[in-house]
């Protein structure tokens, strides 16, 4: 399949990569010879995959994720594995067990998370394209903070087989790139049905972005421009939307009432699923530290996990365990699923009258390193990105200007399976301001 190798030894002052493949093989196809960075929660056969956690240090998967197989088939060169928040849990990549990634636009600031490494690799000029994953905004947030493009596909369009699960019902692998065209090219390679993923949908992606938005109806939710959003960020995003109106679109004000509990529903769901997904990490079959076989099972297991997981991971596992525990399931997890239905219903209602929804990707610009130390205030930063995950709809972030020298992202959300349209709108904007 492969036939050539290239040299990949870029300077990495941002600590974007955890593993670099300096002589990656590549073959023929639409991505022939193109170096692609892969987030370190995506399984790569023969290449260490850690999820930026000590508990998986040294783990070498014996199999490739489906998307990696597709990358190889397309001739791409797997350039390396990028840094992330441990197990995808975070919004800044500061939760990596191996040190944070720095934002190439300002190395005193975070690149966003959890796909911060992939975003920095692109923004820092090391690669043009990368794979990220998005559970509650983890592609779009770093794309916005680093000034690149990133797409969270419709749930089910990209196989999750080989993605080390954090929150199965919410997450998707998605493409990140210097430009919207890069994002579309990469999406074309990774999208499509996979029989090894029971939630996979048969919707391949074969679309060249078009700059056509005449008559496009854009919903503007009031909750996306409310008091929680930095006014300068809101201004820049409004200007970007005005540009789209100049190009022929019309705006329609709307509201998403379920936003008031969307974030709670998100965190209850993702921590619950995570508490179950991460229970398998005991150091017995892979990872470490190795369990002490002189201790009893229970003791040894606790030791491995106390040492191997960082505090944010342990916090979320505990929250999820609590939410699922007897007596609380109805109050938390069951309620959260009804909340999701309501979010879906709100979007469906809005989409009856508009084609896409637009707003800021993040309520602020990139934080300074160490600025967000309180978990809850960190969670609140996800407020604008989680609704798309809860509903399973496609959402893209495309750079739309700067505030205080730092990039701002314009978020476009669309109906289920209208990823092509979402990309077109982002492309149209991007091309208009080049």
């Amino acid at each position: 399949m492969a036939g050539h190798t290239l040299t990949f030894e870029p300077a990495d002052p941002y600590h974007a990569f955890l593993t670099t493949c300096s002589r990656p093989e590549h073959g023929h196809g639409p991505l022939a010879g193109v170096p692609i960075a892969v987030k370190d929660n995506i399984s790569t056969k023969g290449i260490e995959t850690t999820c930026a956690s000590k508990i998986l240090k040294g783990y070498i998967p014996p199999y490739d994720a489906h998307v990696v197989t597709l990358l190889r088939k397309a001739g791409a060169a797997i350039a390396g594995k990028t840094n992330m928040d441990e197990f995808g849990m975070g919004t800044t990549t500061e939760n990596s067990a191996f040190g944070p990634t720095l934002n190439p636009c300002d190395t005193g600031r975070v690149p966003g998370g959890s796909s911060g490494g992939s975003a920095a690799a692109i923004a820092g000029g090391m690669v043009r394209m990368a794979l990220g994953t998005d559970t509650g905004g983890s592609i779009r947030c770093p794309a916005a903070f680093c000034g690149i493009a990133g797409l969270k596909p419709t749930y089910g369009r990209v196989s999750r087989y080989g993605l080390i699960a954090y929150a199965n019902s919410l997450e998707q692998i998605g493409s990140m790139g210097k430009t919207v065209s890069d994002v579309a090219t990469l999406m074309g390679v990774i999208a499509g049905h996979d029989r090894r993923d029971s939630t996979s949908v048969d919707r391949p992606f074969a679309h060249t972005p078009k700059g056509e938005i005449k008559g496009l109806r854009i919903g503007i939710p009031e909750e996306y421009f409310g008091p929680g959003v930095d006014p300068e960020v809101a201004t820049v995003v409004r200007k970007a939307i005005d540009r789209l109106v100049e190009l022929g679109a019309v705006t329609v004000p709307c509201s998403i009432p379920s936003m008031q509990y969307a974030l709670a529903a998100y965190y209850v769901t993702c921590t619950s699923e995570a508490s179950s997904n991460l229970a398998r990490f005991d150091g017995v079959r892979y990872g470490g530290p190795a369990p002490d076989t002189k201790k009893s099972w229970h003791e040894a297991y606790q030791d491995v996990r106390r040492e191997g997981f960082g505090p944010e991971v342990r916090r979320r596992i505990m929250l999820g365990t609590f939410a699922l525990s007897s007596g609380y399931y109805g109050k938390y997890y069951a309620k959260a699923q009804v909340a999701r239905q309501n979010v879906k219903a709100d979007f469906a209602h809005i989409f009856a009258g508009v084609d896409v929804i637009a707003g800021p990707t993040m309520p602020s610009i990139a934080f300074r390193l160490g600025e967000k130390s309180d978990p809850l205030s960190m969670y609140l930063a996800d407020i604008l990105t989680v609704p798309a995950n809860l509903a399973g709809i496609p959402a893209i972030s495309v750079p739309c200007g700067k505030v205080r020298g730092m990039p701002v992202g314009l978020q476009i959300m669309g109906k289920h399976f209208e990823d092509e349209r979402v990309i077109d709108v982002a492309y149209t904007y991007e091309q208009a301001v080049i």
């Binding site: 014996p62 029989r195 017995v284 201790k295 009893s296 099972w297 003791e299 606790q302 309620k335």
Partner: protein
């Protein structure tokens, strides 16, 4: 409101373990987050019928397994083809 004692219990239930130094901070953070989760009390409605994919099945066909070596390769301890684990009480 959860107490430090309950937080410790949850850590045991989840088998994650907390360092003694973390207990107070964890409890404080836990409570703040749980208070935030209470916004779910605003949720109205009942679970709706399933409208997505159903009956996703595969045929009963044999596919190649990993070799024993591949299975054991990432394990820190093995014996005679088995994976070694701490004793269960």
């Amino acid at each position: 409101m959860v107490t430090e004692h309950e937080v410790k219990h949850i850590a045991e239930l989840a088998d994650v373990g907390i360092h003694k130094e973390e207990l107070e901070t964890f409890t404080h953070q836990f409570n703040a987050i749980l208070e935030y989760f209470d916004t779910l009390d605003l949720v109205r409605g009942v679970p709706a019928a399933e409208d997505g994919l159903v009956n996703i099945l595969r045929e009963d066909e044999i596919e190649p397994s990993l070799t024993q070596e591949e299975v054991l390769r990432n394990a820190p301890a093995r014996e005679d083809g088995f994976i070694k684990a701490p004793r269960v009480m």
